[in-house]
């Protein structure tokens, strides 16, 4: 059968959500991927799949039917006193909405990968607001781009070429030549090497640096010490001058701000800086969201519940208090007595101490691929790959929703179908309470 090219495919890996991908399909299988970066190409090409649902018996996995796996999952969740439904970042919004319905039904905690990633940004926004824009504004207008605590060359490889640096825009027709790019990081990363300027900062000193920049911006450079976090005052003054004198500046923030000392306070401070810069020129901030639909999970949860992550439904209404209700909070307190990991891999990305507790409780994994979570799971339900075998909505890092495409057929159930069936069975078990 002839090879067919599917165009304008939306890449389901990182927060760039590139939608110009070309996928070559032969005999119902993906044989090649064009235009994607290695992260996206690998995702779309796929890997060995979990073949069938499995239930762990005496330490070993036994293959079972979807019906059996769903039945056992529903039993566990219906009886649990403090269930946690975690993940949600690497599947489509339609499935996320089903997940919220399930969480409400069983009074569960529902949390997304944001709690180990940009949760600090969300909380920072809740303190100071989100002065942002869509990526096209950066493409067309930005002449100053600052990557702070992020490394797009490794995590968002096409970001610079599609949105921020070499891309040509309406008012930046010469691309790179019309823009200046700063990288601020604790080490000279691959992105630092392709930037115009790399500013090395000591780990945990971002908050101080933002305070220093704001102090200089406010006209009080005289009280700033000679170095702040390893950055020379002259450099900080230079940075403020560059920021004040640009026509349109943007700060892209990453894990260097969200996972380090001060956490969300770093974000409150950089947001305040961006806010104060708006008195001088146009300035914005966009968080570099890691997974392709973690932003979608935040949006979906927010419109359905009022809050974007770390939600506790045990009282019958949504209760939100990251630091108390995020996944690692409740796992570390050993409160959770049953857990579902769906489209998120806590086995790989949670600290060991949380895994120690996860090993003791019933763990249901819903995922196309085996991963460290599978090693701890008691029930494994493989599903179709969202964005490749299932179409649905994803929200890019800047909030733009794009519909991912279905490129090939699948025999697997979709996440939405599995959740629907678990929900139906849970309702029966709970008898309409």
């Amino acid at each position: 059968m002839a090879a067919e090219t599917v165009s304008n495919v939306v890449c389901p890996l990182c927060g760039c959500l590139c939608d110009d991908i070309e996928v070559i399909v032969e005999d119902g299988k993906i044989s090649n991927v064009k235009k994607a970066c290695p992260l996206g190409k690998n995702k779309i090409m796929g890997h060995d799949r979990i073949k069938a649902p499995m239930i762990r018996e005496n330490g070993e996995f036994k293959e079972v039917s979807y019906d059996d796996a769903i039945e056992k999952s529903a039993q566990i969740l219906a009886q649990a006193k403090r269930p946690l439904l975690y993940g949600w970042a690497s599947l489509i919004c339609e499935a996320q909405r089903k997940g919220v319905e399930l969480a409400e039904e069983i009074g569960a905690l529902i949390d997304t990968t944001a709690s180990v990633c940009h949760g600090s940004t969300v909380v920072g926004v809740q303190g100071r607001g989100a002065p942002g824009c869509t990526l096209g504004e950066v493409k067309n207008r930005a002449d100053l781009v600052i990557y702070w605590g992020c490394n797009p060359q490794e995590a968002h490889p096409r970001h610079r070429a599609r949105y921020a640096h070499s891309v040509k825009g309406m008012y930046r027709p010469n691309g790179k030549k019309d823009r200046k790019v700063f990288v601020i990081d604790v080490r000279e990363t691959k992105t630092a090497k392709v930037a115009d300027e790399f500013v090395k900062i000591d780990p945990g000193y971002d908050y101080m640096a933002f305070s220093a920049l704001r102090t200089i911006l406010a006209g009080h450079a005289d009280v700033v010490p000679d170095t702040v976090g390893g950055v020379a005052k002259e450099k900080l003054v230079e940075m403020v001058d560059a920021m004040k004198s640009c026509e349109f500046g943007v700060i892209f923030g990453g894990m260097g701000l969200t996972q380090t000392r001060c956490r969300y306070k770093n974000l409150e401070n950089v947001i305040s800086l961006v806010d104060e810069l708006n008195a001088h020129t146009k300035f914005t901030l966009i968080p570099m969201r890691g997974h392709y639909n973690v932003n979608g999970s935040g949006h979906t949860l927010a419109w359905l519940t009022g809050y974007p992550f770390a939600i506790d439904f045990s009282r019958g209404y949504a209760w939100y208090n990251p630091g108390e209700t995020a996944s690692n909070d409740v796992l570390l307190r050993r409160e959770v007595d049953a857990m579902m990991a769906i489209a998120g891999d806590p086995g790989a990305h949670f600290p060991g101490e949380s895994l120690r507790h996860m090993a003791k409780i019933p763990l249901i994994q819903i995922d196309p691929y085996a991963n460290p979570t599978t090693e701890l799971a008691d029930i494994v339900i493989p599903t179709a790959v969202s964005g490749v075998e299932v179409d649905g909505t994803a929200y890019r890092m800047d909030g733009v929703p794009i519909r991912t495409r279905k490129v090939v057929e699948t025999e697997y159930l979709t996440d939405e179908e599995v959740l629907e069936r678990i929900l139906t069975r849970v309702r029966e078990l709970k008898g309409g309470n």
């Binding site: 989100a130 824009c133 096209g136 026509e247 008195a279 935040g298 927010a302 419109w303 209404y317 949504a318």
Partner: protein, 566 residues
């Protein structure tokens, strides 16, 4: 299912019915002449029976609403209601989750709600939220005034291509009407600037006035059901009433394509300001009302401010930023490439602050000074002026001078000198109120065949309130208005009982109305327009044109309204 509502005291201004005792019959999802052996008989017992409320301007679904929710968990905590047998968990006071929005409107007797501002690039988001907002019928107004394509065509005067673009965008965003917000100014805000009605838009060299006129003309050329719906330039600025009147005047000579206004000007309270700074700020509601009384081509909605801590959100990015410079409260901003922008910031309106008290007065003054209730729609620009849950109290204020006097004792004395409310005696009638909340908005939207009335053939959307108009004096018993208008005895939506005694009894999906402008007018310059549009996608957008239009999957309950002008 057939329903007979007996012994109601009916107010249906669209049919000239003003407090008549009569029966109303429903068969399926429509009102009918009568029914024999009805499946359900409701004895209204002398209570008010009115059409379902039509909310023609509210911010309930989409990017900036969600930005408000995410930014304000403290607002979420104010409205916590646990899930019920039929209802999902609720949250929010000014930024409600979709379920709270749906249930609260339904409990208050509203059955049609229009999302006031949808950025086309993010339209998918509005429609996803619509699907999670049960009960009410819905529609969305799409932002088309700061779009680079619109601005270019307004500049070149190529209205055929603009018509083709508007048609394409309505299809691509599944929109009901054209929304204009701070035209030119929100594009200028992409550079941190702003502009007023006669300032050339930076780097585009065409004025907002020319953009407004171009869109108004195209709106009529395409025969769209609704007129352009405009948030004028200079919102919130002292002295802006002049810009407002200049905007209305600019559209005087446009011929309407149907029996309705040429421009609907929204939340006019925010646009009726006199003075030149916050110190001499004063009401110019009289000047605006005077203009509206003398001209038939403009309709308005109020945008009433009430005293509370609410969340403002509009596509008027620069205005929201300037609110931030005043109060320093947390501020979110979201400029949308090639199209529009938005700003979101909490605002606390206080009766002790002179400016806020005057704003509160202005909203009421407009309603009381404009003679014809068909030209005035009751809104709060939810949540900008206050949440829509303040409607009962606002209605009480409009119907009772005694209530106004009581409230005037608690507000800043600035109102005495720089507002008019204390001098106005008029008390609105039920007919006025029902016109302003049902018949009027339905007509303004171009939906009077199906909405805003109990006439035969209209959608069976109806509300029964526990008020006995024949023995009730709203001018004195205003407390009763405030209590009873919060929860209906019955809300019926499309012939289905969705509220009984203030409790939700059913949560059907509502429908999403959208307009497909077709015909020669829409298609003549399509090829040329598409060449220009393709260039925009190729060179400037960051999504591909193939992925841009809202797919049918997002409107499973969509109702296409096709207009065809040849």
């Amino acid at each position: 299912m057939t329903i007979l509502i007996k012994n109601g005291v009916v107010f249906d201004p669209a049919q000239g019915i003003d407090g008549e005792k009569m029966d109303i019959a429903i068969d399926g999802d429509k009102f009918v002449e009568d029914v024999s052996s009805p499946d359900e008989v409701i004895d209204a017992g002398g209570r008010m029976v009115v059409p379902g409320g039509v909310e023609l301007h509210t911010h309930i679904s989409g990017g900036k609403v969600n930005a408000g929710r995410i930014m304000r968990p403290e607002d979420g905590r104010k409205g916590r209601i646990p899930r019920g047998k039929l209802t999902r968990a609720c949250s929010g006071f000014s930024v409600l989750n979709t379920f709270a929005t749906a249930y609260t409107y339904a409990r208050m007797g509203y059955t049609t709600t229009f999302e006031a501002a949808m950025p086309p690039l993010v339209a998918r988001h509005t429609h996803e939220e619509f699907e999670d907002t049960p009960i009410t019928d819905k529609g969305a107004l799409v932002l088309l005034d700061n779009n680079w394509m619109t601005i270019e065509y307004a500049k070149s005067g190529d209205l055929d291509k603009l018509a083709a673009y508007v048609s394409w965008m309505f299809n691509a965003s599944k929109a009901y009407g054209i929304k204009i917000v701070n035209p030119g100014g929100t594009e200028a805000w992409g550079w941190g600037k702003n502009c007023s009605i006669n300032d050339p838009v930076p780097r585009f060299d065409v004025t907002p006035k020319e953009i407004i006129k171009a869109l108004a003309q195209v709106n009529e050329d395409l025969g769209l059901p609704h007129s352009i719906h405009i948030h004028c330039n200079d919102l919130g600025h002292p002295g802006n009433f002049e810009t407002t009147i200049e905007t209305y005047e600019a559209l005087k000579d446009i011929k309407s394509s149907s029996d309705r206004q040429v421009v609907h000007a929204t939340h006019t309270q925010f646009h009726s300001y006199g003075g030149s700074n916050w110190g001499d700020f004063e009401s110019k509601a009289d000047a605006i009302a005077d203009y509206i009384n003398k001209n038939d081509h403009v309709t308005i909605d109020l945008g009433v401010v009430m005293f509370c801590d609410t969340t403002t959100m509009t596509a008027d990015g620069p205005m929201e930023y300037s609110l931030h410079t005043l109060s320093r409260r947390k501020w979110s901003n979201h400029d949308v490439e090639l199209e529009t922008g938005s700003g979101i910031i909490p605002v606390a309106y206080s009766p002790k602050i002179g400016v806020n008290a005057i704003q509160w007065a202005i909203g009421l003054e407009l309603a009381l000074l404009i003679d014809d209730p068909w030209k005035v729609v009751l809104t709060t620009d939810h949540p900008n002026g206050c949440p829509f849950t303040f409607y009962p109290e606002i209605i009480a204020l409009l119907m009772s001078k005694a209530k106004r006097e009581s409230m005037l004792e608690t507000v800043s004395k600035a109102v005495d000198k720089r507002a008019l409310i204390a001098t106005i005696d008029r008390e609105l009638t039920w007919s006025d109120i029902i016109t302003m909340t049902r018949a009027g908005p339905a007509k303004i939207l171009g939906m009077s065949d199906t909405k805003g009335s109990l006439k035969v053939g209209a959608d069976a959307d109806l509300a029964i309130y526990d008020i006995m108009p024949e023995s009730f004096d709203p001018t004195k018993d205003y407390k009763t208005i405030e209590d009873k208008l919060m929860r209906t005895v019955y809300t019926i939506k499309g012939g289905e009982i969705v509220v009984r005694d203030g409790e939700i009894t059913a949560t059907p999906h509502g429908r999403t109305f959208w307009v497909n402008p077709a015909g020669k007018k829409a298609e003549a310059a399509r090829d040329g327009m598409l060449e220009d549009l393709e260039r925009m996608f190729r060179d400037y957008y960051t999504v591909s044109m193939a992925n841009y239009p809202v797919q049918d999957e997002y409107i499973p309950h969509g109702v296409e309204i096709r207009t065809e002008v040849n």
